[in-house]
Amino acid sequence: MDRLKGLKCRECGRYYPSSPAHVCEFCFGPLEVDYDYEVIRAQVSRARIEAGPKSIWRYADLLPVELGPDGEPHVGSAVGFTPLIRARNLGDELGVKELWVKNDSVCHPTWSFKDRVVAVAIGKAKEFGFDTVACASTGNLANSVAAHAAEARLKSYIFIPADLERGKVTATLVYAPTLIEVQGTYDEVNRLCAEVGDKYRWAFVNINIRPYYAEGSKTYGYEIAEQLGWRAPAHVVVPCAGGSLITKIWKAFKEMRMLGLIPEGKTSMYAAQAEGCGPIVTMIKKDTDVLTPVRPQTIAKSLAIGNPADGYYAYRVAKDSGGFGEHTSDEEIIEGMRLLARTEGIFTETAGGVTVAATKKLIEAGRIPRNESVVICITGNGLKTPDVLYDRLSSDVTIRPSLSAFDKALADLKSKTGA
């Protein structure tokens, strides 16, 4: 029996066969992969997962792409299964008892959670027989699509806003895709790609392959629960751009409960966004299901989506789960990055700074209780966006290579700090 039934409209429930399609032809609602959970239930178990590879493919029974006859995926065999760190120092600093960091800043191969969705999307593109993949991206997705397309030996077209951090541009170009820098915001790039995707028969991972692509994010949630010893945490703070990740982590826990992989329980989901681009958190704070798009103005460029596709669903998840949301200023984002580095030795990108800073504010405001388990989602690597720190960090001492020079410098430092 096949565990994949096809696609189903999330709004009107119409069914479609498995195909590269993402929008319901009737109501324009998003299409989602429709599984036969009875088939999955008969296959999946904790033991089967634990015996699987140390990658997202240990959850292959719950993903919409097939493995090869040798049990290997089409691409991305080492993606995922990133560390879940018990963050005692940061927990002490924030005054919470049980704090964890799910660290996708070290996801293989391009250091962000996007490797999860792209490995699934490009595998699916191969199944569908495409020879070209494409995406609209704020950087992390660009890196990942270019890398996985190289591995899959597919052509790739990557569309990005022209003002991206140079680190992210270089970390895309090195894989030799066709990179198109568009003079506009991400939302403009995305709209252009929706029209390009309509005209050219390419696999746009976050457009016509989107139902499959988005399912890859569930593995972030599966891993959290498995690594916690087969239980879901009480609270999860998630950075939001398009709004998909928060909905898929939530879905992961729901599926695991339904399949008996983790006990029944309640997990509250919290959205973290920048003040300069926080339309989802604004919906949550105002408690409205109408999304008002914004023009992004934030250093957290990987979250700079002013018109998030899953904004409505992200709002619903935060609300239905009993969670909330928080905005963070650019200064708080930098502080968040430095706080995580200083306490846990983890260097995350600006989006991670947003998540850490939002978590701090949610705890201080009493939205997240101090005596329950909390997971912070760190989804990208700081070495991709060091630009924001250049003006804020400098070395303490520059000296000639002599011991006396060092002795003097050390004495000066100690007298300065009073140590």
Partner: protein, 92 residues
């Protein structure tokens, strides 16, 4: 005012396969009315019973989201380009 309206794939069954059609009107609202006159059934695909544009549809006038302009009351000039684009796409 006559304008070009770009039609996304899911709506082309209503426009007899056309990816671009001509329509006339002084506002986005008028253009939708004119599209409905030419292609009966199109309006209900774009607009909810209460009159607001559906949650999963974005409309652009010359590449600008009409929610940054005056919504369905946004005025249209001769030669403007109107794009109808499904909202569901993207994600970093």
């Amino acid at each position: 005012m006559a304008v070009v309206v770009r039609i996304p794939t899911p709506l082309r069954s209503v426009t007899k396969g056309a990816a671009e059609v001509q329509a006339a009107g002084d506002t986005v609202d008028d253009v939708i009315q004119d599209l409905e006159r030419q292609y009966p059934g199109l309006k209900e695909r774009l607009v909810e019973d209460g009159g607001q544009i559906r949650r999963f549809i974005n409309i652009y006038v010359n590449q600008e989201d009409i929610r940054f302009l005056e919504g369905a009351k946004t005025t249209i000039k001769q030669g403007d380009e109107v794009s109808i684009v499904p909202a569901i796409a993207g994600g970093r």
